[in-house]
Symmetry: C2
Subunit: 97 residues, 2 copies
């Protein structure tokens, strides 16, 4: 997921499709690159679970997935806890002295 979010275009696609779903071609018009390039970005995001695609006739509605974002949040939260643990241990050490 970090790898998928490492690209600015992809982050923007996530942001945009969180607000409201969009077809691949709608997304494609929004960026200064070919349709195929945007389509590949969407594929990467889908692979990482950051967006889902929902067929509707000949088009695919792309929808941002807030759950995936929350999973990253949780990972980062875990890191934060690790850090708090370090502080706690330093405190304990100081109190011993």
């Amino acid at each position: 997921m970090f790898r998928a979010l490492a690209d600015a275009t992809r982050r923007d696609i996530v942001r945009r499709t969180l607000t409201e779903e969009a077809t691949v071609s709608q997304l494609a018009t929004a960026y200064e690159m070919s349709f195929a390039a945007v389509q590949k970005h969407v594929a990467v995001l889908e692979g990482a679970g950051l967006v889902t695609k929902h067929p509707k006739g000949r088009e695919r509605l792309v929808r941002g997935n807030p759950d995936a974002l929350r999973r990253i949040q949780q990972l980062l939260d875990a890191y934060e806890q690790i850090w708090r643990g370090r502080i706690a241990r330093l405190d304990a050490l100081l109190n011993e002295e």
Copy 2:
């Protein structure tokens, strides 16, 4: 920062140095790769602000930076808010009908 966190070794270095600071060579012994490779990873993390280096004699103490993690948290939080906005708008639409 996402790009820096996109590599598993680098995520592990962040995790490890959040717990307690370590020299570059201490880190290097922890991974199945050359010293130079680890040193480059640390440089990338430092460039992204995810760790800081503190000279101590001939060695450099590497320390994970919790503030950087919090900044990502905030970004993801903003995305979450965007999504909540969408839900709110959908609700408003339903209530109109």
